[in-house]
């Protein structure tokens, strides 16, 4: 939808390896995308068909920058730019950068649809052993899903871990403060509905009631239109180019492939620091003050901005 502004440089390839813990049981897993790109997505080229890509440009030095020449800065209210390093991002919640601790199980149908943001499959690491199957079987038998959170690329993700056909899936959930309510939107209070109108509308609903979905209704009509047209054009022999090395302009990953892979840096820093400084950060939380600060996070327009993840990481 049009109000869903994409940050110019959202995070990149979804890639997280960590551990799901459930009680004292730990299961090493890899996160992989569970939704594909739209079929209608196209590639960016110039008029002659040369592949194009997005790059970062320094207006002062007038040059294209490599990813290792970039840092992330936060502009405070007083206009001061504070640089936050990858190690500092990780340091803000070290345990959550490795583990998804399932602290609570809930019935799946208790989670309102508005909360679901993006699904990922959890692939068992080779060390996962039968603990993976155990968690999947247990959740399928009890009809429960586990709730936990983890940190990736400077953003905390709330997830529901659920099981289907023996495979674990992580559904990224929106945090409660990211969702509006009818009151905060300013919708009028529900009034008393006219009974005869309710019945008339109820009849229309019944007339359209079906036991399930129709695949044709769920198809990507835009892609079908584009494909048909592109095929006709190709038959005439115009505009056909080779597919090597093309980039997707609709790709919300920011394009250049590996913008800032915090996770990679994180892993490196983990290797370097080792276990020495692995102090447990207690779950004591800074409450109200930070809550207020979070509200102030400004959306400025000037230069290229990165967001500590708005949507879940791109596919």
């Amino acid at each position: 939808m049009p109000d869903a502004k994409q940050p110019p440089s959202a995070p990149v390839r979804p890639f997280w390896s960590g551990t799901i813990t459930f009680g004292l049981v730990s299961i090493p897993v890899d996160l992989v995308a569970a939704v594909g790109a739209r079929q209608k997505s196209m590639k960016l080229v110039d008029e002659e068909g040369h592949p194009l890509g997005r790059r970062y440009w320094c207006p002062k030095h007038e040059k294209i920058l490599d990813n290792d020449e970039l840092v992330r800065g936060y502009e405070t209210d007083s206009g001061k730019m504070v640089v936050v390093t990858d190690e500092e991002f990780a340091s803000a919640a070290p345990e959550k950068s490795r583990d998804i601790d399932l602290k609570r199980f809930v019935p799946l149908d208790e989670i309102p649809p508005f909360f679901f943001e993006r699904p990922y499959f959890l692939a068992p690491d080779e060390r996962a052993g039968k603990a993976y199957t155990l968690l999947a079987q247990t959740m399928e038998r009890t009809g429960k899903v586990g709730i936990g959170s983890f940190v990736m690329r400077g953003h905390e993700y709330l997830v529901a871990i659920l099981a289907e056909n023996g495979i674990l899936r992580a559904e990224v959930l929106r945090h409660a403060d990211e969702l509006r309510t009818p009151e905060s939107v300013g919708l009028p209070k529900p009034g008393k509905a006219d009974g005869s109108l309710v019945r008339a509308l109820g009849k229309e609903i019944d007339a359209l009631a079906k036991p399930g979905l129709d695949a044709a209704e769920m198809a990507d009509l835009e892609a079908e239109t584009l494909r048909k047209f592109a095929q006709q054009k190709a038959k005439k022999g115009t505009g056909v180019i080779s597919m090597d090395d093309l980039e997707d302009p609709d790709d919300d990953s920011g394009g250049s492939g590996e913008v800032i892979d915090l996770m990679e840096a994180l892993r490196k820093s983990l290797g370097a620091v080792g276990t020495a400084g692995a102090a447990r950060t207690s779950s004591a939380k800074p409450a109200a003050t930070a809550e207020k600060a979070a509200k102030k996070a400004p959306a400025r327009s000037a230069a290229a901005k990165t967001t500590a993840a708005k949507k879940a990481p791109a596919r």
Binding site: L179, V198, Q231
Partner: protein
């Protein structure tokens, strides 16, 4: 504080029409950062360049190419793309109503509230009728030259629309094969079930506030004041060895700390 409607349309169900306004249900709370050049902290810009020579390509000279297969794509000119855009009108066509269970959560993309547009009576009557039926409406509409697919639902006396992903995005089979040879024993599953039951509760989203965002703000505040930060890294976890043993110990731990309700 109220939100601004992003669009107006009317729901079409058979012969009935209900005018509605569309509001985003999501409010961005992410902490935003600027990307800077490390050398002197100049905010960077994004440029579209030719991959082979790095030269910038102006917006007017950029084209989109639709992939025909793995080898070939076809350049579509802006005038051609414009002609392919769907006809715009204000109708949100409700195609069918299905049981809630027909849509798994993988379909759900972005949530929106629908509000009444002048005719409050029709709006609240539909919210009540749909709430009574407990079904989801599958809807299609064209908004600002783009097609949308959505699920219409009613909750708390209001109508909601959640945009949906397309079939080919969702119906995608994972290349994941859990090791079938290593099946947990019945005793282990029983223990795990007990453990799950012992920490089962209601879904209380407000308990799961974004703690990391708060810590990040603290960290930035401290750094802005010039405080030296002590960096902490995580300790990698070992995979569980004896499953039954771990389960029993977990159960003992949860039952001894019963009464501690708070999570996160």
């Amino acid at each position: 504080m109220t939100a601004r409607a992003i669009w107006k349309g009317h729901l079409v169900l058979g012969k009935q029409e209900v005018p509605v306004k569309v509001y985003s249900a999501v409010e961005d709370q992410a902490v935003h950062f600027h990307l800077l050049h490390e050398k002197d902290l100049t905010p960077v810009e994004q440029r579209i360049v030719r991959k082979d020579n790095g030269r910038e390509v102006a917006k007017e000279a950029q084209r989109k190419a639709f992939p025909l297969d793995d080898r070939r794509a076809v350049i579509l000119e802006p005038s051609e793309l414009e002609k392919l855009e769907p006809e715009s009108d204000r109708a949100i066509h409700v195609l069918r109503f299905v049981p809630r269970a027909a849509l798994g959560e993988q379909w759900f993309d972005r949530p929106y509230y629908l509000g009444p547009d002048d005719d409050d009576g029709a709006y609240f009557a539909l919210a009540q009728a749909l709430g009574d039926k407990g079904r989801l409406g599958i809807a299609r509409w064209v908004m600002r030259d783009k097609r949308y697919l959505g699920a219409l639902s009613a909750a708390g006396g209001y109508l909601r629309m959640t945009t949906l992903r397309r079939a080919d995005q969702v119906l995608h089979v994972p290349a994941i094969r859990p090791d079938k040879a290593r099946t947990p024993s019945e005793a282990e599953v029983k223990l795990a079930e007990q453990l799950v039951e012992s920490i089962t509760g209601a879904f209380a989203p407000e308990e799961w506030h974004n703690e990391y965002r708060e810590r990040l703000h603290k960290l930035i505040e401290a750094k802005a004041k010039g405080t030296k930060l002590r960096l902490v890294a995580a300790k990698p976890k070992e995979a569980s060895g004896d499953l039954a043993e771990s389960l029993r110990a977990s159960l003992a731990a949860t039952t001894s700390s019963k009464g501690r309700k708070k999570v996160a």
